[in-house]
Symmetry: D2
Subunit: 432 residues, 4 copies
């Protein structure tokens, strides 16, 4: 039974997010350059969202010693709503907000997304600013103890006060007016983070869901950071479109290897409109927002492993590297039509094997074909194989999706000799 909110994301969302490359420093020029590149090179393959990540209302974001400047002055409107910092997003001048940028991106045939922290700015609270459409001030709806442990911008909102909903309504009304298509809400997903804290982020998720519905505009709702707790899978499936199943993911093998355990746990919770999220793809050129940029630390084999796991599991795909810096190799990973067909049209993915040395996943295509992903988790080259009986087959015709070539008919079992940390992604059809 499809919910209304599911219909905005019937397949895993695909796009670009500014965090991995530009962190808190992203600006209008960078957003538009990435949009231009996407329109030119990626759009035909299904990539569509351009997402501006955290602290777009902080004029000096990213200029301090640490990730965020604490107690910095944010750009707020008279109702305590964050507005884009005009020094970074010049088109926002005159109260236009993100509307001009959204319009440009829409005109390219793409969609526009923003990041927010749950809650209300501490600055609005300590200045006792009014909440739009109510007769209360921000300090009357904020919870003094409901904070993020990694960012000091906000207080959580008290779900027992109706004016808290009004605040959320007021910001999503603004986002709808701007033309926002995707909202990544942060500090909200790992609801077990605060064991000694009476606060539960569940109620904020519900308020945000309601605010989106009331806004009258379709928006994908993405929850962060992880790990989400699986006991609440049903709640996220009910209210959100995607939610992080891990802590922040970066270009380290240990993190990639650990993702197999996360996918194992979440494998039964993937369905249209409901996408457990393995986090962004740190490919190509990244890290420029953190003092100095770098090429991804992943080997090519590891990059293939990542793309294969994300695709067969059906995680959202959000490119983290700066798109205009893509080289041909990176571009080839993002534009493999057969792999992206798997992302969009496969179902019932499940793990067949996982131990310290290897993993095997399988899934089914709408066209009745079967997929098989073989992963080598060792530090050395190794052969990974899977008996066809595990798929209840005796023989099959095999095609390699990354190599884009047919390997021919096999009997009994399918094997691949894999590079260290490497993977093969195969499509199996009835033997000719």
């Amino acid at each position: 039974m499809l919910r209304k909110k599911d219909k905005v994301a019937m397949t895993p969302p695909m796009g670009w997010n500014s965090w991995d490359c530009w962190a808190a420093t992203v600006n209008e020029k960078q957003l538009l350059e990435n949009a231009d590149y996407m329109a030119a090179h990626l759009k035909p393959f299904g990539w569509e969202y351009v997402v501006c990540d955290i602290q777009w209302s902080e004029p000096l974001a990213g200029t301090g010693e640490r990730e965020y400047r604490n107690f910095a002055r944010l750009t707020l409107d008279e109702y305590g709503r964050q507005m884009p910092a005009e020094n970074r997003f010049p088109s926002a001048a005159g109260g236009a907000g993100f509307a001009p940028i959204a319009e440009k991106i829409h005109s390219m045939g793409l969609k526009f997304g923003i990041h927010i922290m749950r809650g209300i700015p501490r600055q609005a609270v300590h200045e006792h600013l009014p909440v739009l459409g109510t007769d209360v001030t921000a300090d009357q709806v904020a919870l003094f103890h409901s904070i993020s442990c990694w960012n000091g911008d906000m207080y959580g909102l008290d779900p027992q006060k109706p004016e808290s909903q009004a605040y959320y309504d007021s910001i999503f009304q603004l986002y709808a007016a701007w033309g926002v298509d995707f909202v990544k809400v942060d500090d909200i997903c790992n609801t077990n983070m605060y064991p000694n804290n009476p606060y539960s982020a569940e109620k904020e998720i519900e308020m945000i869901r309601r605010a989106i519905d009331r806004s009258g505009r379709d928006m994908v709702l993405s929850l962060s950071p992880g790990p989400a707790v699986i006991e609440k899978a049903w709640h996220m499936e009910k209210h959100a479109n995607m939610w992080r199943v891990t802590d922040d993911f970066w270009d380290k093998w240990e993190l990639l290897k650990a993702m197999f355990e996360r996918c194992e746990v979440w494998q039964k919770h993937v369905s249209p409109g409901c996408w457990p999220d393995c986090d962004m793809l740190p490919l190509g050129r990244i890290g420029m927002g953190f003092h100095s940029g770098r090429k991804t630390n992943f080997t090519r084999a590891e990059q293939v492993t990542m793309m294969t796991l994300w695709s067969i599991f059906r995680s959202p795909l959000m490119m983290g590297g700066n798109l205009p810096d893509c080289d041909n190799w990176t571009l080839s990973l993002l534009t493999n039509a057969e792999v992206l067909h798997l992302l969009k049209h496969s179902h019932d993915a499940c793990q067949l094997v996982r131990d310290d040395t290897q993993a095997v996943w399988t899934s089914v295509d709408d066209d009745e074909g079967r997929y098989l992903a073989l992963f080598n988790l060792c530090d050395a080259q190794a052969e990974v194989s899977c008996p066809l009986s595990e798929l209840e087959l005796s023989s099959a015709w095999v095609r390699d999706l990354w190599q884009k070539k047919d390997l021919g008919a096999v009997q009994g079992s399918v094997s691949a000799l894999l590079a260290p940390h490497g993977a093969a992604l195969l499509k199996l059809t009835r033997a000719h």
Copy 2:
């Protein structure tokens, strides 16, 4: 994609289990009396399993101060396999085991089940008995530290020794020869119980699955006790047919109320062949195996609530009370054809609301009808209602399944005035 093992339990298993009424003392006469009653009164409604619970190999079971006599002498064959104690199960004489009882039950058109603890008897280990088909003895496959914390009969088996699989194969070969249709394996389901113990029951589940497959006989695999951990849902779905989602359930309101939280967590993991298990139904006359018997402590309203929750969630239904003692009221709970139709033919059950005072569940019938279960969790009478918009309906024709009568057309929302701890189970179809 249905697995082979799923096909033995396409709908939630229904039967009777000896524990709630006879505990560890059950005997042949009691088993057969319950089978007779089931054949006569319940079989037409889908009830079919007659299950003999724990310690059937212990001649003096249930005669000590505590639940189990520790370090008691069990009846074993020469290969360390438990055999029915002949003083309690006379037809087992001469090495016949449970075959004669199984045959009688089969002749009634019913199916026969038994309980086992995971592992190998400590007695076999300390006597160094041989493992059938191998040249090792029991002490060579047992793990000295892999024990149950509530029953002292067994040691776990070392999954790294191939002869451990041989032991499991040897017992399931015996059960197949007896004609066993259902095996409840105990001390195996809550795999998080032993945080400081290197042992994991997962490997024993896998050995048991393999032993059943090799036995050549269909058997339902039921895992106990709970709470199962939801991170391992995929593993239980892969290997078992039902698994307990709670600790032992008895006739106390606190336990029944707590079950709503369990069902909430597990709601997405119910599918043909894979049945999260709310445990037995302590209805009618129970407790005779624990010093003295009693009528269930549940009020009638609570009994309806239990049957409603188990049915809409699609838990297995295993009657715990002694069947020949059923009164008309109890029998009516077990033989409501419309409720049992829901158990067998509904799908996509989900919780709409749960707080400290009420819960609402809904599901869909194969015939496109919708079900709505309204629960009053308060200690006083209360009205519980649900807006039809939650079901994406504007009006509906309503039938009460427990009252077996049509309530007529409703607009806007459905309500019921409910007894303390009571429930209503409604079927909604398009308004005429």
Copy 3:
């Protein structure tokens, strides 16, 4: 080896604290009335501290729905230091702070104490107020994530910034100038409260210790709330004079009974200058600061039990009830010279027995006498006894300290028939 800081509290501090009776609403008149009463009736028995508890800088403290008004405007000086709210403490007018009150209390031969929360006011931080003697502002030394989970006034201070020490120095310099003799620092003692928070209160304890030492004035340092973690006993012994071993204590038997477990754990950590603190004595008339006052809910037997445990364990004694409302019974509990002699002159207290029904403690007097405290933890009258051999005695002369009478010589064991939840406190000397 006595530390310098130990010398300000060679015996357990005794005094009155405003919290139990006046909560956050206490005012100058109430402080002085309690001081007057103490000077007249309690001073000869060793009572000396008059302590003003939380939120004395909040003009409207206690007038909201909850315990504290969140994001209220506090009275601060230009350096972000809290000053007494002048509407509540009129003598503070003109920047005099607590000096006039301290002076009055000193003139009665008593000592004056105040409560503070660790850290720096959020208000000072969000207003970017300067830190005295530095060129930084409050926002540059505060940690955005270091907060109390029960009071929203403050941010913790960053121990890696030297200006954080400067802020603490600035407030203790002020307190020294006022004539403060005792500081209860709150939100600092239970250092395990924030398992997911990088913050540790240990560093703030060290900064506060240093600030007191630098102030040039002797002040008792009292840490709150509990439970303190015993792994850090050595740290509190090194830096503080008293620290709470429990969460807030009130007039409920369950809390009093639970204190026996706390004293058991902490029994080896009591020494001059270092006093594990069982919290205030909710005796007499209390609760007026929380909507409505009441007489203590403790029975007389429970009051004796509390006074006996606190005294033999050598907890600080801080009266919580409003002193001018003391009746004769309450006064008698606070002025038993023999019991208070035990408090001041006994040592090596240890628990001999504790189970669900009774507890027995013993200690030694400087004069070589032995103390024996017998506690009845049952809900019914019961006899509690102790073999003299446990004290390595064969006979003894026994005096009852609460009854103030000699019970005579005993052989073998000492017994007392005790009221429900009651206690006897006995002094044993060599049999005459």
Copy 4:
């Protein structure tokens, strides 16, 4: 107040234990060779205990793949009491037990110790052997779920059965008859190991204490393994003479560095008769009982650090290396009279500083001198210093105890340039 049990260990016990070198394989010849060496070279410095560690009743101990052979046949007497395996301890023949070995060791002027696991042999339980002096059998006093997670020999004893005490009495009566002076009881000290297990080892400690007292012979009671939980410090101080504050200690820097944290936590719990135990000294030649021997992996600097920490903290000193293999360097560590004077005559040791790079401890001698231990926890050479003001001194005369030479008078602070992982141990007296 000294307890009776304290008097058998007024200073930290010093001796040799067979585990580090011979593991479960130790035999009579090895015991006596070590005793001979101790008598000849170490006795004048206070070394006196020769302790036979685990599984002396197992004829084939140490011959399996793992540390212990599970479900092996132990040598038991008719009452289920373990007896030395005669193939390993020939003098035990004819039921003599350890008496002949004890006698030889006593004749050298030394003392004899043995290891036991808490509880009763599983073998005695499954064979239903009688408990001496009672009419019950072993299976009636054993708890089926009270087991060690690392050794399969025993079941714990049910403290609610009086015959459990009788069993302990029966074994300690035997040990007293043999002439045992020291008992290391294993699987009993870390009472928090079994969070889901109703069993608490506390009651077994109490039964053992009582059995020793009843045996009529002085025996040091040593509890293992750790980490002991500090909440129970009072209980161990009451009943035992030494208890392990860590898990097993071996010759790895990480473990040695971690010991500083353990000593920090336990620093206030060291007193005559009560010795928190840092575990054995893996010095010289070790590991021969584990497939192959080796020289200690500790550098000389690390060996000095270990000896310094153990000595100033006043841990028991139990040499782990095979004594006859000692080289001069190792012998010099064990026979430094000034360091061992500190072990025996210092008091009030406390940590002054600890961070990731260094640690500083101080203590006081009976002769009023002060000790100062400086530790370099870095992987590179570093200077560690301590202001004399921390000791409330302005100047001092300094002697280096390991170098055995006077360093002369110092003012202001004391420093030492230390090797990686190295230490200095200094005695400070009034400047001449």
